[in-house]
Symmetry: C2
Subunit: 349 residues, 2 copies
């Protein structure tokens, strides 16, 4: 009765977009209840009794897989962090439009499925295959046009053939929860979440660049406010970290306080996390835990504070490709890929 | 299965502070599930089998009421808006410390109970009674001292004797939910929520000013950052309004959109709500609905927008005492009573 538990933070309901209360998550495997929900459209209506997955297009042997077929193929299970490309959008200055995600458009857990590569091999891709288009069952209107689109994204053929790009059918040991893509969801480790198409309807191999609006209009970095100059596609996750504890604007007493958080990257591994408790004048390397290929790492530091006052605490991660969080995030018009050094402020009294 | 519902927004768990997702509330009576939770300490342990309410102090006939006694006295039910004094604290500039409430540290519903006045009359207040101290069962340490305090607040005798100040035992027709004060909660209409003490343990009439930290340290407006000069107590709610729809930073199409929200005050009634869709250059009076003595009112406006672009939408309420929201809120060090004109920004594309 006296138990206090965190909830998803509601950003919108039509479509449903809700954020993981990341500061209050103690476990590194997020349950369905607290896994962030991100939708472009309302939830699809699927008829499971007639569910088949076509793999077609630029192939020699088009396939129609039943769920049983797919589940009988060799599988693998991976702990993968999924981060929405719009995570932390609300922190951009100048502010941008769209869902005002704070630090919680990110979750992770164990996805099990068959490598997409296996399905593509069974269909015998033809010479000249360039991309693999994955279409979801979710459809609807966009604000920028009256046309109806399904949510569809392509992957470059190399990423589609990567052995860890999965067509997943399990999450944390159970069927994938409906809101997260049941019965099948593409899982693309290291890429922002928009690539991990939910409710997979069809997989099509193409020999030219796919140009759906979810990769030619949305999920594009537009560095200019008023023109599309310099546009580049959103793909792998940037190196990033988030302070979970203390909370921003928390009031503390003098003494020892644990500062902790998470760090992750879409290239290689996190090799270093530094924190500063003096607004960036000095930095200390902190302890890393649970380092895993596709998951976030935990980090923590015991901060001894004797003097009352206001403190700005920063966290900065570095990955094995030498990428490091910068003070200034890469501003872009649609607000993707925010990875500025994380910052909170506390008062010690 | 496809239903999307809003949740409380978690601000902290120790103690539990969670915010009502006010933008997504359609009903004007908030259910327990979505009523904001605001605590100073962890939840108290109460033994209900031995629950008695003492009314003592500067009285001729100290009383010890059982719940049955209280429930057998003449009762009244009132729809009351309860707003945390820290509601909207996160909007202050410069920013202040403490729970970073956005627009949802506010809820309303129907509280039923016996007027506090009835209990005071049964105890026969003596001449010279100045204040009534209401103590809750919640106790704990504060960050500014090592002493243990219970949560206790006093009311001036006139407010305590107001016929609508209730010792409530029902919320929305059922027992008061535990997290909101079961079995008895003081309900002080028109005052910020800190006055509505939960889990009432004792009521004491005093003939001098009570000086507990929850009214001499906290719940005080300190207009200066570095001194206590000009400090005044936090009491009645300021005139206020919140835009619920559209959402801040929402992307809309051209056409007609409903702009709606709520407005409330701690003095008299809301008599006017104006909105501006051009950053405050022009104002339009909007339709008010559900005007009730102690509740918020709903307002709405059909906005026809033909031209693409960015729009700043403002809402401004006026009450029957001539109080009106100002552009600049009254900044104060602890961040109470924010009532600046509400403001969102949308993009029409």
């Amino acid at each position: 009765m006296n138990l206090s538990k965190p909830y998803l933070t509601t950003r919108s309901l039509q479509p449903e977009n809700q954020e993981t209360p990341i500061q209050f998550i103690k476990n590194n495997i997020i349950s369905e209840r607290l896994f962030f929900r991100r939708n472009h459209f309302s939830y699809p209506n699927l008829t499971y009794s007639s569910y088949w997955l076509p793999v077609n297009g630029h192939v020699r042997n088009p396939q129609l897989f039943s769920l049983q077929n797919i589940m009988s193929l060799p599988s693998k299970a991976l702990t993968v962090v999924l981060e929405c490309a719009g995570n932390k959008r609300s922190f951009f200055e100048p502010k941008v439009f769209g869902e005002q995600w704070e630090k919680g458009a990110i979750s992770q857990g164990v996805w099990k499925g068959v490598p997409l590569k296996t399905l593509l091999q069974l269909a015998h891709i033809k010479e000249g295959a360039l991309e693999v288009v994955v279409e979801g069952y979710d459809v609807g209107k966009r604000t920028d046009t009256d046309k109806v689109y399904s949510y569809a994204r392509s992957l470059p053929i190399e990423k589609a053939l990567h052995e860890d790009t999965l067509v997943a059918y399990e999450y944390n040991g159970g069927p994938i929860p409906f809101k997260h893509g049941f019965p099948l969801r593409l899982i693309v480790p290291q890429w922002y979440g928009m690539a991990s198409v939910k409710w997979v309807k069809q997989i099509t191999i193409v020999n030219r660049a796919f140009s759906g609006p979810f990769q030619t209009v949305d999920y594009v970095y537009y560095p200019k406010k008023d023109s599309d100059e310099g546009a580049t596609p959103v793909t792998t996750m940037r190196v990033n970290s988030s302070i979970k504890k203390p909370l921003d604007r928390e009031i503390l007493t003098t003494g020892v306080h644990e500062i902790n958080g998470i760090a992750w990257t879409g290239k290689g591994l996190i090799v270093k996390v530094e924190i500063s408790t003096d607004s960036g004048q000095t930095w200390t390397e902190v302890k890393l835990r649970n380092k895993d290929q596709y998951s976030w790492i935990d980090w923590s530091y015991d901060w001894e504070v004797a003097e009352k006052g206001e403190y700005t605490i920063l966290s900065k991660a570095t990955d094995s490709h030498g990428r490091v969080q910068r003070k200034e995030p890469y501003w872009n018009r649609k607000g993707y890929g925010y990875n500025g050094i994380d910052r909170i402020k506390v008062k010690v009294e």
